[in-house]
C-alpha cells in the first residue's frame, strides 16, 4: 500500500468500477482503496496498528450495509485519529435530512452522484483536484 491513497467507502460494485474509471479518466494516480461496508472501513480507519496509514481523503457513500454512512461519519469525527481527515459524502441521495445530518456531523463536502456518466466523471475530477491538489490538508500526527 503506497503512502498516498483515497478511501472509497462504497458497497455497489458498479459505482466502485465507475469511480475507478472516473479516476482513470481524470488521470488521478493516487491509489483508490475500497471498503465495501462500515465494518471494513472501521477496521482500516480505527486499527490498533499505529503503522496503518490514513487516507488523504474519504469518499463516503451513505447507504451501506451493517453501519450506515452517517454513523460511520460520526465515528470518524469522534475518533481523535481520524477526526480531521477530509471526508466527502458521495451519494445518490439528495434528501434534505441527509444533507443536514451530514453537515451537522462535520462532513467537508457533499456531492450527489449524477446519473449521467460524463457529469459523474466531471464531479470526480473536481473533487479529486480540490482535495488532493488545491486543499491544504491538516498536519499529520507524526
Amino acid at each position: 500500500m503506497s503512502r498516498q491513497y483515497v478511501l472509497l467507502i462504497e458497497d455497489n460494485d458498479d459505482d466502485i468500477e465507475l469511480t475507478r474509471r472516473a479516476f482513470a479518466r481524470n488521470h488521478i494516480l493516487n491509489e483508490l482503496v475500497v471498503a465495501r461496508d462500515g465494518a471494513e472501513a472501521s477496521a482500516l480507519l480505527f486499527s490498533e496498528d499505529r503503522e496503518q496509514l490514513l487516507p488523504q481523503f474519504i469518499l463516503l457513500d451513505l447507504k451501506l450495509p451493517k453501519i450506515s454512512g452517517l454513523e460511520l461519519l460520526k465515528e470518524i469525527r469522534a475518533n481523535p485519529r481520524t477526526a480531521l481527515i477530509p471526508t466527502v459524502i458521495l451519494t445518490s441521495s439528495k434528501q434534505d435530512e441527509d444533507l443536514i445530518e451530514g453537515y451537522r456531523l462535520g462532513v467537508n463536502s457533499y456531492v450527489r452522484k449524477p446519473v449521467d456518466f460524463n457529469e459523474f466523471v466531471e464531479a470526480v475530477r473536481q473533487v479529486g483536484l480540490y482535495w488532493l491538489v488545491i486543499n491544504q490538508p491538516p498536519p499529520a500526527d507524526d
Partner: protein, 648 residues
Amino acid sequence: MADIRTPDAISSVPLGDVLERITDGIFALDADWRIVYINSRARELLDARDRRLLGERYLDAFPKARDASFAREYRAAMDDQHPRAFVEHSRTVDRWFEVQVYPSANGLSIYFRDITDRIEAERELAERSQQQHALIEFGRTALGRIGTNRLMGDALELLLTYLDLPYAEIYLYDPTSKRYRFGEVAGLGDEVAPHEAPPLSGDAVDDLVAGHFILSEDVRADERFTDRATLIRLGIESAYCLPVGTAETPLALVTLYGSRDAVANASRRRFADGVATTLGEALRAKNARQRNREILESINDAFVACDAELHITYVNERMAQFWQRPADQLIGMSLEAFARRAEDADVIASYRAAIVSGKSSAFETFMVDRQRWFETRVYPFAGGVAGYVRDITRRKSAELQIRELNVELERRVRERTHQLELANADLESFSYSVSHDLRAPLRAIDGFSQALEEDYAATLDGEGLRFLRRVRSAARRMSELIDALLDLARIARRPMSFVPVDLSKVAQGVVEDLRREDATRDVRAFVQDGLHAYGEPALIRACLDNLIGNAWKFTRDVPAAEIHVGSDAPGAFFVRDNGAGFDMAYANKLFGAFQRLHAPEEFEGTGVGLATVAKIVQRHGGGISGEGSVGQGATFTFTLPMEAPQRQ
C-alpha cells in the same frame, strides 16, 4: 204642639180652620170612643175622605186598629190620663204613623203623621249596614275557604238571608267546555230538581259568559228562561242572573229568584253584586292556589319550601317520596332532621347560606346509599328558602359515557396518528430508497454504456452506437422522472407556513430566470402589479415556476408569444398564454402525475409539473382549473388564501 194642651180647644170654632190647615192628621174621640172630630188630613192619611166617620165608634170605623198599638195606647191614655206617643204600622192603610195622644176627661185628641218614608229609609239603612257587615264577614272567610262547595254555600246563605229570597243557584264555569255547570243550590232545593246547566237559552248563556247580567222582572213571560214551568209552580216573579269573573276569565254564575221587590230592588242587587264580586275573588284566589299547587306537584323536581329557621312549610309529592315520608308529616319538621350523612351537612349549610346571602346556589351530590346523583338548586325568598332536587343520575351517566367515549376517541386518534406517522416514515424510507437505490443502476447503465462506447467503438457499427445512445438517453430520462417524483413527494410532506407573499414579485422573478436561461426567446410577459396572497413562499415559487415555465415552453412555436399573470377575483389568480393549448376533452388528465397531453418529441417534460402545482394549491386550501383549446393557448386559474388560516 205645646200650644194645644186640651181637647176642649178642638171644639172651639175659631180654632177649627187652624186645625184643618195643619199637615198632621188630627182626630178626637169622646169618652165613648166616638169620633167627634177629624180633619181632612187625617181622612186623607187614613184613606177615608168619603166616609162619614163623625159619630162612628173608632174601632168600628177602623177595625184593624183593634189588635195594634192604637187601641191599646188610646185605652191606656184614657185610663191614666197621661199623654203618650208611639210609632205603629197601620194595617188599614199600610203606612207607618207617629202618633201623639192627649187625654182629657172628655176623651182623646190624637195627632199623627205619616213617617212611612222615614221608617223605610231607616230600615233600608239598617238592612244595608247589616248587609255590609255580612259582606265584609263573607269576604274575610271566603278567601280562607278551602272547599268550593262550602264557599258557594256561604254565598247562597248570605243571599237568601239578606235578600229574603226563596231560591238561588250558583253554576261554575268550566273553561274546557266553555259552559256553566251546576255548582250549588239553596232555598227551594228540595222542590227543584237541580239543573246540570243553567235553565237558560244559549243566547242568554253567551251574554252571561261575555260578562253581561240578566235582570228579568217577569220570568214567567221571559223566553230566556227555559224552565218557566217550575218558576211558575214556585210562584217566582223575577230573576237576576249575575256573571262572576270577567269576560276574559269567567268563573261562575249566580242566579237569584224571588218576588219582584226582592230581586229587582237596586240596593238589593248591589248587595248581590257585592256577594258575587267577593265570590269571584275567592274563586280566583282558589284557582291560583290550585294552579300553583298543580305546578309544584307536576314539576319533575322535588320541591321544598322552608321558613327562615329551616322548618318545612311545603313539600310537593316528589319531595315526600324523596324523603320517604307522607307530605303532611313533613310540614313543620326541621330540615336538619334529615341530616344523617356527612353530605347532608353540606346541603343544609347551603340552604342556610342562601338565607343569609340572599343568593341562589346549585350543587350536585352523589348519595351513596341510593347510588344516585342529585342536583339541588336553592333559592332564597322573603322569609325563607326553597329547594329543588332533581335526580340527574341519567345525565351524569351520559356525561360519564361521553367522557369515556372521548377518551376512547382520543386513544383511537392517537393510534391512528401513530399509524399515519409510521406510514409517513415508511413513505420517507420508500422515497429514500427510490432516490438512492433506483438511481444507482441507472448510473451503471449510463456509465457502462459510455464505457462501451469509448472502449469498444471500433467493434460497434453505427447502428450499435445509436442503440447505446438511446440506452443512455432512456436512463437519463428515468433519472429525471425519479427526481420529479421526489420533488412531488417533498412538496406533499413539506411543513407549511402562511406568510404574506407578493405573487407579482415572484412571477417577475420566474420570468427573469426564464429569459436568462433562454435568451433566444422573444416572449412578452405581463405581470399584474399588487398580487398578494398568504402561503408558503417556496411552494408558491415552485407553483409559479411550473405554470409560467409551462407557458414559456408551450409558446415556443408561436411567433408573438404572450404570457399574462394576473387576478380577476380576490384570491383567484391566473397564468394565461397564447401557446399550443390543449384539448378540453383531456382537461381531467391535466393534474395527474405523469399525465402528458403532448408527446415528448413535441414538448419535453416529466408530466409531473401540473401535479406538483395542484398539490401545492391543494396544500394551501385552494383549487386549480385549466382552460384551453388546441392552438389557442391555455389559462390556469388557481386560488390561494387571502389571510392566514386559523391555527387548529
